[in-house]
């Protein structure tokens, strides 16, 4: 079954430890990544150039995400919720109340940090760092279009999943360390949920990989550009959302659970377990959790965009804009679900995950494989 074990013929050493048999494992991917552009512009070469370029690029990407989060968290979220509930949200400070962002930032940062009794430090302090860290790390391989891609390793999409799921470690640390029953419950719930929906997520992604035949995000995106059908002169690109809508739906659902949004926000169900794992957090630590969650939402959006919506591809506007639009669309969707859909119970969640999603995703995988096999 596994072709690799079959390979025979006496092997010979290729000298250094960084060469792999796979020919595509050359220094960089097919696209020129952001650090390369930067180091090229600065005229730097070699490892030093890589490091400088990488740092600058990383800072850029991180700040883009921070900016979007800052926009989304304090302002957009309120506005959207208000719109759904037919209210007018923040509108005093600045145009459309946009300056509330600054105000909130200052307010939260200057709050007192209350450290409850018997918290398990330093775990309690590290947890808030891990959440945004994992979310940001996920963006390293996301092609924003317009050359805005930090790195393009051949394991891109898998890396994104891996980075994204580091978050649960942070959640458990937070819940276990803060010496609070609600926090512990929240942490456990979040773990149970991530476990239950990780597999459907990954398996569904795998069903897309079957089409693309690569993990490299840029190539996945490129694979979606060729035309699927041409209706009335308009070429519909072969986005996998069109090719495999079933997987698309599954993926969105699993993704919602993975990032813990409604209807799957039971880790921090405010009406059941005060605020879940972040009950005991205040001040900047709370900010970091909040930040992390929102970056996660955007990461989920970015993954959906890359896997199903052709990434940055789109008519007229530059790629980066399209990418941002797609990510925001997903954000909008989560907020809509937040206001519209009731939360599931924990047992319902588990049963949906293991008895529904898992089976469906495997069915999807098998079906896709069979179809591809029959067609190709």
């Amino acid at each position: 079954m596994d072709p690799v074990l079959l390979q025979s013929g006496t092997p010979t050493p290729t000298g250094t430890a960084n060469a792999t048999a796979n020919a595509t494992a050359t220094a960089s991917g097919p696209v020129t990544t952001l650090p390369e552009t930067i180091s090229g512009a600065l005229g730097l070469t070699g490892t030093f150039g890589d490091i400088v370029g990488g740092l600058i690029g990383a800072f850029l990407i991180a700040n883009i995400m921070l900016g979007m989060t800052a926009l989304a968290g304090p302002w957009a979220k309120r506005k959207i919720t208000a719109a759904f509930t037919d209210r007018i949200a923040v509108n005093r400070i600045g145009p459309f109340g946009l300056l509330i962002i600054v105000a909130d930032a200052v307010r939260l940062l200057s709050k007192e940090l209350i450290i409850p009794e018997g918290v398990d430090r330093p775990a309690w302090d590290i947890a808030p760092i891990i959440l945004p860290f994992s979310a940001l790390l996920g963006f390293a391989v996301i092609p924003f279009g317009s050359g805005l891609q930090l790195a393009d390793p051949e394991t891109g999409i898998v890396f994104a999943f891996a980075a994204a799921s580091i978050a649960s470690v942070g959640l458990v640390m937070a819940g276990y360390a803060s010496n609070n029953k609600y926090s512990l419950l929240g942490a456990l719930r979040s773990i149970a949920q991530n476990l239950a929906y990780e597999i459907p997520l990954v398996i569904t992604a795998a069903s897309v990989i079957i089409f693309a035949g690569t993990f490299r995000t840029s190539e996945i995106v490129a694979a979606q550009t060729e035309t699927l059908v041409t209706i009335a002169g308009i070429a519909i690109p072969g986005w996998y959302a069109f090719v495999n809508p079933f997987a698309f739906v599954l993926f969105i659902a699993a993704n919602m659970a993975e990032i813990g949004r409604n209807p799957f926000d039971i880790p921090e169900a405010p009406t059941e377990i005060v605020a879940g794992y972040q009950t005991e957090y205040s001040s900047v630590y709370f900010v970091l959790f909040y930040l992390g969650e929102f970056i996660h939402i955007f990461l989920g959006g970015a993954l959906i965009a890359v896997l199903f919506l052709g990434g940055p591809a789109g008519p007229v506007l530059p790629g980066f804009v399209w990418m941002v639009i797609k990510m925001w669309a997903f954000f909008l969707f989560t907020q809509w679900a937040r206001s519209a859909v009731p939360r599931v119970r924990i047992d319902q969640l588990i049963e949906i995950g293991w008895k529904g999603m898992l089976v469906l995703s495997f069915a999807n995988l098998v079906l896709t494989a069979v179809l591809v096999g029959v067609i190709a």
Partner: protein, 100 residues
């Protein structure tokens, strides 16, 4: 870039750390973690040398190793659970019904 011997040293170091953990710890869970360390030392070797030899045999086998490690942990945790139920602790030295 990095000469392959260093990977051997790294793997050996990780392996010895795991071994040390096994020899010194009495908590069954820490014991499990140490075993995982030892297995991962093996993985380091496999991956490094699959790059060195230019075939992917080692990488693939490391995948299998991970899978087996996971299964082992699953069984192990189960046994430790019944251990806890019967002896009220996860201290491996507590089980003394029979002499060694």
């Amino acid at each position: 870039m990095v000469p392959v011997q260093w990977y051997l040293l790294l793997a050996a170091a990780v392996f010895c750390i795991g071994l040390f953990g096994i020899l010194t710890r009495q908590n069954a869970l820490l014991f499990l973690m140490s075993v995982e360390l030892m297995l991962n030392a093996a993985n380091i070797n496999l991956v490094a040398f699959s790059a060195y030899w230019g075939n992917v045999t080692g990488q693939t086998f490391s995948l299998f190793t991970m899978a087996l490690a996971a299964a082992e942990v699953a069984v192990g945790i189960g046994i430790i659970l019944v251990l806890y139920r019967n002896f009220g602790d996860v201290d491996v030295t507590l089980a003394k019904e029979m002499r060694w």
